[in-house]
Symmetry: C2
Subunit: 246 residues, 2 copies
């Protein structure tokens, strides 16, 4: 059997839940995981609240290869992610010597005061390793299988680019999309039958509504190229058959 | 004290987790909840998997006034939300007489066959009430405090418009945004102090990264207009003070 690697994501921030900020990181992580052959199994969006963060991270790290978090690692009072992750692991959260030095040098070189607020960004759970931040220096961190990254999309993406080459890759889930001019209600029966007879594939059907009528995108996924081809042929034959009966 | 009404959301669908479809419903629900004075406390995105749906719905319905789900109520084999919600409540899932009649009439009037796949859309947990679907007829449904709606954004939005007037409204969380030309590291200390001395407000700070430099959007929220004004004045005085020291 193919090697299965799974991931979950925790998006941290009141601003996403209030609608003020529209998340742009979930879709990016999902695309990246798919490219790496890693199954993204669940995403949770939680507020800036320690108990909520701890609950989500502990539930998800126990049952996934990796957990990725975004948000809450800046310098202000509502940035509580480092403390929450330390609490989730039951370890102290303190200034990291190397992070403190990096930030001190960075701000000194620019004549920017290294305020207490900025010093907060050097805090991380004991035993955490840095995730390099090529944009604004303040590092993310990894502790065990949990990767803690920034919420600002440009920084999140840069941090994920640092992390990606270090991750175990899964057997890639291949996928092919077959557009169906028929709505789901027409193809649902035969499609269920194709799913039953092609158990090595996952067949999804996604209704599209455009200009008052429905069409369907059928997506077939499999870790076996052969199984994918066979299911695709079956779906195409089914659509051909329906077209001929029109 | 103000009346607190809370909500959670469960987004159901492999296609969101694979990145193939980018969710457009979370932000819409978040905006709508904020407009209604309802606190959106958590969002979970789960796959088309009954155990995952049941776990998320049961965890969230126990601790929120409302739970809203999107996705998985169409006619195909991967649309398993009705069964999963029935399982979460421990009730049977069967054809709803009224939904069946509505769909039968709808398709008959259009000369479209009422296939077994389409009939699946009439299935719902015993005891559920319809949520009207003004676009494509197949209803969503409510059981207890759980509202089950379509994933197609146009239909989800129409269903939510049907539901919104029936929801308890919370005391509205007022909010005001104050743009800060300073990055978070500069304002973090004094802002934490303002948060401490204005406990009736929630002060968030959202770093913005543009053209290589940082500015910050400070957002103050409160259910008391007076408290909001006082905190806003304190933030503005703090920024004024920093500008004068520049």
């Amino acid at each position: 059997m193919s090697k299965i690697v799974t991931a979950a994501m925790v998006v941290i921030g009141d601003e996403i839940l209030s609608g003020r900020t529209k998340d742009r990181n979930i879709g990016h992580l999902a695309d990246m995981m798919t490219a790496l052959g890693i199954d993204l199994k669940e995403v949770r969006i939680v507020p800036d609240d320690q108990a909520a963060i701890v609950e989500a991270v502990n539930a998800l790290r126990a049952r996934n290869t990796y957990v990725f978090t975004t948000g809450g690692i800046g310098p202000t009072h509502d940035d509580i992610t480092a403390d929450a992750i330390a609490a989730a692991f039951g370890v102290p959260c303190d200034y990291d010597e190397e992070a403190y030095r990096l930030l001190d040098e960075h701000y000194a070189a620019r004549g920017i005061p290294f305020t207490d607020a900025r010093k907060r960004m050097a805090r991380m759970p004991k035993g955490a390793e840095h995730i390099r931040n090529p944009i604004s220096v303040a590092p993310g961190f990894r502790i065990a299988n949990v990767y803690v990254m920034a919420g600002v999309p440009a920084i999140f993406q840069a941090m994920l680019d640092e992390v990606a080459p270090t991750l175990k890759k899964g057997a890639k889930l291949l996928s092919v999309a077959v557009p169906s001019p028929f709505p789901e209600g027409t193809i649902g029966g035969p499609l269920a039958e194709i799913q039953r007879t092609h158990p090595e594939t996952i067949i999804g059907s996604y209704p599209k509504y455009q200009d008052g009528s429905f069409w369907t995108e059928i997506v077939i996924r499999s870790r076996s190229e052969e199984a994918l081809k066979a299911a695709k042929a079956a779906v195409e034959a089914m659509l051909e058959n329906l077209l001929n009966r029109r």
